[in-house]
Symmetry: C2
């Protein structure tokens, strides 16, 4: 069964493709589709669902879409659904991962409550009326400086006390096991096996 | 683990309680909670999620909530999210199941395309950031008159060609196996076992 994956983020793609080994997972451009979707929802769920419906309308196939982000308690849940655009210029230019991480650290200067969590809302949509969704979290703390060079995005700033490492210090398999995205994908993988044997 | 179930419909309650035998499923009033929730969403998913979040805010426990309805193709998807209120008087008085079924049959007089499907969007919410959702369907045809006296709601009008029976002619176990609600609950049951071992 071919499943098309709604993603424009290379890091996410690599993680997700790995988690669904029993199906052919294609990216939109591998189906000859130019897929751009503006994430305008108020929640991770809204964004993931919007993306899934949009991509399904283009492909007619089952699709997987996700929206993820980092929520920092002391910042009232920011950057949240704006994680990818956090600190972007008014002209819409998006920061690099490094610059965005610097921006977050600056906003957390002198903040002692470093608690944060990653959220991933992932949708597996077979058709517009039939779908499955898993939203998972992983809890941690924002470091005082970047540590580790694996992963992507905020990973170097996200320390997981249980493992004594940042997300950017985890091997891909180790990260998939405990991450918000890995857990959401694992939940859906069981359902996909059931729904599309 | 105690899970509180958001439902005001006795028929739904009986079906769902049966599907989660390994957990204590309580109804709001068994927790001493008066639960009323107005379904104002545009989709089954919105309604189920709104109910789940509302009930969780009251109980602090994991909750299950669902929203279901009948979509008739020739009626442009009606009654859809208005299934429970279909044909209600302007004064807000809700029809009995029998009167509602009569109303639907009247609206389908002389309609030859009888295709319809039931939808169930079911949410299992552990906390506001962590949840699982299954939305399932079952396809059938609207009969010319009610048949069968089991089930509830539109069941006597919903003929399932594969089984040669209406949903109201199915034994509870048989119905759970093929119904929109049974399939959504079965999908979530696996995730619940995983998430709350």
């Amino acid at each position: 069964m071919t499943i098309v994956l709604a993603s424009g983020n290379r890091g996410k793609k690599a993680e997700i493709v790995k988690l669904f080994p029993s199906h052919t997972v294609l990216l939109p451009d591998e189906r000859g589709i130019q897929f751009e979707h503006e994430e305008t929802g108020e929640t991770f769920l809204d964004n993931a669902m919007g993306k899934a419906q949009h991509l399904h309308a283009l492909t007619g196939t089952p699709v997987i879409a996700d929206d993820s982000g980092l929520c920092v308690r002391a910042l009232g849940g920011a950057p949240g659904v704006f994680s990818a655009r956090y600190g972007s210029e008014d002209n819409g230019q998006v920061l690099t991962d490094d610059d965005r991480n610097g921006y977050l650290l600056k906003n957390m200067k002198d903040v002692s409550d470093r608690r944060a969590f990653f959220v991933c809302s992932m949708v597996f949509l077979i058709n517009e009326n039939r779908f499955f969704i898993a939203q998972e979290t992983v809890h941690g703390e924002i470091t005082l400086s970047p540590q580790g060079d694996m992963g992507f995005g905020y990973d170097p700033l996200f320390f997981i006390p249980d493992l004594g490492k940042t997300a950017a210090q985890l091997e891909p398999d180790e990260k998939n096991e405990i991450s918000h995205r890995g857990k959401a994908a694992a939940a859906l993988a069981g359902l996909i096996a059931r729904a599309l044997p």
